[in-house]
C-alpha cells in the first residue's frame, strides 16, 4: 500500500489597491484576478483560463505604481501593497490602440468580445487609410473535413500553440514561424495539416479567440449563411469511447450535431478532448435513410 501525501495548500493573503479600493487576493494570483475581484471588466485576448499566458496581446495592461511602463495584468503576479490603476487615460489609450491594431490587421468580426471592446474603448478604425494599411490576407486553408484554418482572422495570440504543446496536447504540431508582421502559426515547413504531426484533437480550435480555427461544420454552415447559434441547443453528456470520462457539450442545430466541446472549467478535461470525443460523433446521428 502506498500512501500519497496530499499537500495542504496554504495560501498567503495579499492585499493590493485597485483604483483606490483595497482588494484581498492570494499569493500567486495575478493582477487580473484582483481586478476581476474588484469588479473591473478587463479585456483579454491572449489570456485564457486553460493556457499559460504568453502576455503577447497587451490589451489587458494596467498602470502599476513604480513601473515606468504599463504591465500586463494577466501575467503579473500580485505583490503586497501594489497600487494598480485601470481607469486612467494611459490605460485607455493603450487598450484602444491595441484593439485598433488588431482590427486593422486581422478580421476580428467573428469575435464578439473584441467587437464589443472596440466600441467600449472608442476605437476609431476609419482613420486608417485602407489603401496603405497592410492586413493579414492569408487564404483560408481547407485541408480536411474536421477543421479549417483562416489565418486572415488570426491575431497571433499563441493560444493554439500552447494548447497543442505543453498546456494540453504535447503534440507540438504547430508553432509560431517567421518574424514580426510575417509571423504565422504554422505546421512544420508549412505542410498541410494531414501531412503534419497533428492528431486532430481540436484543442487548438477550442481556445482560438477569433474563429481563425473553426470546425468545418461551422465553416460550411457560415458559408451557406446558416450558422444560427441562437437556434442551437447544448446538451452535456459523457464521452462513451474510453474510460477517461470526458464531459462533452454537443451543440445541436436542426437536429444535427454541429460542434463538440468540453467545459473549460471541467476538472478532467479543462476544455480539451481527443479526436474521438471531438469529432467521432457521426454514429450518433446515422439515421436510416428512407
Amino acid at each position: 500500500m502506498t500512501f500519497v501525501d496530499i499537500p495542504v495548500e496554504i495560501r498567503t493573503k495579499v492585499s493590493i489597491s485597485v483604483d483606490g479600493e483595497a482588494v484581498d487576493v492570494f499569493e500567486g494570483d495575478t493582477i487580473l484576478d484582483a481586478c476581476t475581484k474588484a469588479g473591473k471588466i478587463t479585456p483579454v485576448v491572449c489570456y485564457g483560463p486553460t493556457v499559460t499566458p504568453v502576455n503577447a496581446c497587451r490589451v489587458c495592461v494596467v498602470e502599476l505604481e513604480g513601473s515606468r511602463t504599463l504591465v500586463p495584468s494577466c501575467s503579473r503576479p500580485v505583490e503586497e501593497g501594489m497600487v494598480v490603476k485601470t481607469d486612467t487615460e494611459r490605460v485607455g489609450h493603450s487598450r484602444k490602440m491595441v484593439l485598433e491594431f488588431l482590427a486593422t490587421s486581422s478580421d476580428v468580426t467573428q469575435s464578439n468580445d473584441i467587437m464589443g471592446w472596440l466600441g467600449d474603448y472608442g476605437a476609431d478604425l476609419d482613420r486608417y487609410d485602407p489603401e496603405t494599411t497592410e492586413r493579414m490576407t492569408d487564404e483560408v486553408k481547407i485541408e480536411d473535413d474536421l477543421y479549417i484554418r483562416a489565418y486572415d482572422r488570426c491575431v497571433l495570440c499563441y493560444k493554439c500553440v500552447e494548447a497543442c504543446g505543453e498546456d494540453a496536447q504535447w503534440t507540438f504540431a504547430i508553432a509560431m514561424s517567421g518574424r514580426g508582421f510575417n509571423n504565422r502559426i504554422s505546421t512544420e515547413f508549412d505542410v498541410a495539416l494531414p501531412d503534419s504531426a497533428c492528431v486532430y484533437c481540436g484543442n487548438c480550435v477550442a481556445v482560438c479567440p477569433t474563429n481563425a480555427l473553426q470546425f468545418k461544420t461551422e465553416f460550411d454552415l457560415r458559408k451557406m449563411g446558416d450558422w444560427r447559434p441562437e437556434d442551437q441547443t447544448v446538451t452535456r453528456t459523457v464521452c462513451s469511447y474510453c474510460g477517461v470520462g470526458c464531459n462533452l457539450d454537443l451543440h445541436v442545430q436542426d437536429n444535427q450535431i454541429v460542434k463538440v466541446d468540453s467545459p473549460m472549467d471541467h476538472s478532467i478535461t479543462s476544455g480539451n478532448l481527443c479526436v474521438k470525443g471531438r469529432f467521432g460523433y457521426q454514429y450518433v446521428q446515422n439515421r436510416p435513410t428512407k
Binding site: V54, N55, A56, C57, R58, V59, V61, T69, L70, P72, S75, R90, H93, S94, M97, V98, F101, L102, T104, S105, R127, Y128, D129, T132, T133, E134, V155, L156, W170, T171, F172, A173, I174, A175, M176, S177, G178, R179, G180, F181, N182, N183, S186, T187, E188, F189, D190, V191, D195, S196, A197
Partner: protein, 603 residues
C-alpha cells in the same frame, strides 16, 4: 514527450552527415554544468538518456546545428530539418519556427551557393549601397538587402555568406572586391581607429597586430588585471566594480555592480553571458575590440566568472561578424591550451570556460532575454520581466549579461581600483567611452574619450564633418536625431538625458545637406518593422503602421498634422505597452526627425 513525428521528407546523404558532424562537433566537454534546473549535462552518452532530460539536453544545440547544416549545404531543406528534429528531439514545427525566425537561413534551394548580404542601412545608404546592390543583383548574384552590418566606418559593407567555405565581410565594398571574396579572397581587418597614442585604454592594443596572439597579449600587460583580481576575494572584486560606477555600454546604462552583486548573491550554478550581438545601426565598437583585442574580453570575462562564482561564460556574437568570430575562436582555444580557461584557470583554483554562440541575423537577439532564448534553442522572443535574468536567466539560472565594451572596462577597474577608475570622466558617468563615428565625417571610426568630452570634441577628433552638417543621429535607430545646436553638450549619461537624447550604444552618425531624409527615416522605420520579433501587438503592428504613416507623408502628401497625431498615438502605445526595448524605442528617431523639421516640413 511523445516520439517526434516528422513528415515524409528524407535528408540527402550530405545533409545527414552534416547533422551528424555538427552534433559531434559541438565540443561536449564545454557544455557540462550540473544544473539544479533542467539537466544540462551533455557529455557524449546522449543516446542513453530518455524523456524530458534528453530533450533539455539537446535543444540548445539547435541554433549551432542549423548554422552548420546551412553552411555545409547552402540552405535548409525539409529533409534536413526532419533530420535535425529527430537527432535533437525537437518537434519539427519548432525547428521550422526557430529557423524561420532568423534572416540568415533560407528554405528554398538558392540560385547560387553563396549569398551576398548587402547592407543598405543608414550609413551605407548614404555611401552608395543601393547602387552596389543593384549592380550585384544585375550580375545574377544571390543578393539580399541587409540591415547594418556593423561596418559603418567602412561603408558600404557586404557580408558574404558562403557555402562550404568560410564567411567573409567585405569592407568599403566595390563590385570587384565582392567578386574577389566570392573567389575566396579573405579580409584582414584593419583597425579603423584613427586615434593613436598612449592615453587610449580600451583601444590601446588595436594597432598592435601581435596582441591577437597569447604571447603578444601577455607582453602588452595582458592578464595583469586577472592577477590583481585573484589577489582579492571574489566579493572584493564585485565591490570594486560597484565603486567604479561602471554602467552598461550596451545601451541601457544600468549599473554593472548592482547586476554582479545580485547574481553573486543567488545560489549557483551561475552564468556570465557577453552580449556581442552588436546590431544597432551605426554601432561597430564591439567588433573592433573583438577583432583586434580578443583576449581582453576573455580576461575580463574570467575576472567576472571569478567574482560572481560563474563557471560558465558565453559569448553570443552576431552571425555577420566572421572575422571577429574567428579572432575569438582562436583566442579561446589558445587560452584554453595555456590553461587560462578550463578547470583550474591559471592555477588560481577556480573553474571558468567560455562557449561561443553565433546569432543568425536578428537584431532582437541583442535584447538580453531574447538572447537567452536564442542560446537555449528557442525563437529569439524577449521574455516578460520580472523575473530578471539575475535570478532567472540562462536555463532558468542566475545570469549576468553584459555588453563587450562594458566587460572590457573591468580590466581597467582591476588595474586602477574602483576609486581610481571612478576618477575618470564625470561624477555620474565614469570611465572612458567608445563612440562610433560614421556618415559624413572626415575620419570615420571608433574613438575613445573620457565621459564628459563634448560632441564637438569628438567630431573634431574625427577630423570634422564633411559638407554642411544638418543633423546627427545619436544612439542609432533606437536613438534620435539632434540638431547642430547640441554640439556643445558634454557626452555623459546625465547631460544627454537632460537634453532629451540618449548615448545608447555610442552611435554618432553625421548627416549633411545631401541626405534625403525621407528616404533615410523610411529606412529606419523599415528596420524596426523587419526586426520586431512580432510577439506583442503594439510593436508588431505599431512598427508597420508608423512606416505606412511616413509613406503617406512622403508619397501621398498627407497632412503632417494628421499623420503626426497618428504617429504620436502609435509611439505612446509602443512605449507604454510593448514587452521590450525595441518597441519602446521604435518611434524615437522618427518623431525627432519630424520635430527637427528634417521630414514633413514645419507647417
Amino acid at each position: 514527450m511523445p516520439e517526434i513525428a516528422v513528415t515524409a521528407a528524407t535528408p540527402t546523404e550530405a545533409e545527414r552527415s552534416a547533422v551528424a558532424d555538427s552534433v559531434v562537433l559541438q565540443d561536449p566537454g564545454q557544455i557540462s554544468f550540473d544544473a539544479a534546473g533542467p539537466a544540462l549535462t551533455f557529455d557524449g552518452d546522449r543516446i542513453a538518456r530518455g524523456g524530458q532530460e534528453r530533450i533539455f539536453n539537446r535543444r540548445h544545440l539547435l541554433l549551432p546545428v542549423l548554422h552548420d547544416v546551412r553552411d555545409a549545404i547552402g540552405w535548409l531543406s525539409e529533409g534536413a530539418m526532419n533530420e535535425i528534429a529527430t537527432t535533437l528531439q525537437v518537434p519539427p514545427a519548432e525547428v521550422y519556427g526557430v529557423a524561420s525566425f532568423y534572416e540568415l537561413f533560407t528554405f528554398e534551394a538558392p540560385t547560387a551557393p553563396d549569398a551576398l548580404h548587402v547592407c543598405d542601412d543608414t550609413a551605407c545608404r548614404i555611401q552608395g549601397a543601393n547602387e552596389l546592390k543593384g549592380e550585384l543583383a544585375a550580375g545574377g548574384h544571390n543578393v539580399h538587402g541587409s540591415p547594418c552590418l556593423g561596418l559603418c566606418e567602412q561603408a558600404p559593407a557586404v557580408f558574404v555568406q558562403r557555402t562550404g567555405e568560410a564567411h567573409v565581410s567585405v569592407r568599403s565594398a566595390t563590385k570587384d572586391s565582392v567578386l574577389a571574396a566570392l573567389d575566396g579572397a579573405m579580409t584582414t581587418p584593419v583597425a579603423p581607429v584613427p586615434q593613436a597614442g598612449e592615453d587610449l585604454t580600451l583601444l590601446r592594443r588595436v594597432h598592435n597586430a601581435a596582441a591577437v596572439d597569447y604571447d603578444g597579449y601577455v607582453a602588452t600587460g595582458g592578464y595583469e588585471a586577472l592577477a590583481k583580481a585573484v589577489s582579492m576575494s571574489p566579493a572584493e572584486v564585485v565591490t570594486h566594480v560597484g565603486n567604479a560606477g561602471l554602467t552598461g555600454r550596451g545601451g541601457a546604462a544600468f549599473p554593472t555592480g548592482f547586476k554582479w552583486s545580485a547574481v553573486a548573491a543567488e545560489p549557483g550554478p551561475r552564468h556570465l553571458v557577453v552580449n556581442a550581438d552588436e546590431s544597432e545601426p551605426g554601432t561597430f565598437k564591439d567588433r573592433v575590440l573583438m577583432e583586434h583585442d580578443p583576449y581582453s574580453l576573455i580576461e575580463a570575462m574570467t575576472i567576472g566568472g571569478y567574482a560572481m562564482g560563474a563557471e560558465q561564460g558565453w559569448i553570443y556574437i552576431r552571425g555577420e561578424y566572421p572575422e571577429a568570430t574567428r579572432s575569438l575562436q582562436s583566442a579561446i582555444a589558445e587560452a584554453r591550451s595555456m590553461g587560462m580557461l578550463g578547470d583550474d584557470v591559471g592555477g588560481h583554483n577556480f573553474r571558468f570556460d567560455i562557449e561561443l554562440r553565433l546569432g543568425a541575423g536578428a537584431y532582437i537577439c541583442g535584447e538580453e532575454t531574447a538572447l537567452l532564448n536564442s542560446i537555449e534553442g528557442y525563437r529569439g522572443e524577449p521574455r516578460n520581466k520580472p523575473p530578471f535574468p539575475t535570478t532567472n536567466g540562462l536555463f532558468g539560472q542566475p545570469t549576468a549579461i553584459n555588453n563587450v565594451e562594458t566587460m572590457v572596462n573591468v580590466n581597467q577597474i582591476m588595474l586602477l581600483g574602483g576609486e581610481g577608475y571612478a576618477a575618470i570622466g564625470t561624477e555620474k558617468s565614469t570611465g572612458t567611452k567608445l563612440f562610433c563615428l560614421s556618415g559624413h565625417v572626415a575620419r570615420p571610426g571608433v574613438y575613445e574619450v573620457d565621459y564628459g568630452a563634448t560632441l564637438r570634441d569628438v567630431i573634431a577628433l574625427a577630423g570634422g564633418p564633411v559638407g554642411s552638417l544638418t543633423s546627427i543621429l545619436m544612439g542609432g535607430a533606437a536613438g534620435s536625431f539632434i540638431g547642430t545646436d547640441m554640439l556643445d553638450v558634454p557626452l555623459t549619461i546625465e547631460d544627454s538625458r537632460e537634453h532629451g537624447f540618449s548615448l545608447g550604444s555610442g552611435v554618432v552618425m553625421l548627416l549633411n545637406d545631401t541626405v534625403d531624409y525621407h528616404d533615410f527615416v523610411a529606412r529606419i522605420a523599415q528596420f524596426f518593422r523587419e526586426e520586431s520579433c512580432g510577439q506583442c501587438v503594439p510593436c508588431r503592428v505599431g512598427t508597420v503602421r508608423q512606416g505606412e504613416s511616413l509613406l503617406r507623408i512622403r508619397e501621398k502628401g498627407a497632412p503632417i498634422e494628421q499623420e503626426r497625431r497618428m504617429l504620436d498615438d502609435f509611439a505612446l502605445v509602443m512605449k507604454d505597452a510593448s514587452i521590450c526595448g525595441l518597441g519602446h524605442t521604435a518611434s524615437g528617431a522618427i518623431l525627432s526627425a519630424i520635430d527637427l523639421g528634417l521630414i514633413g516640413g514645419r507647417s
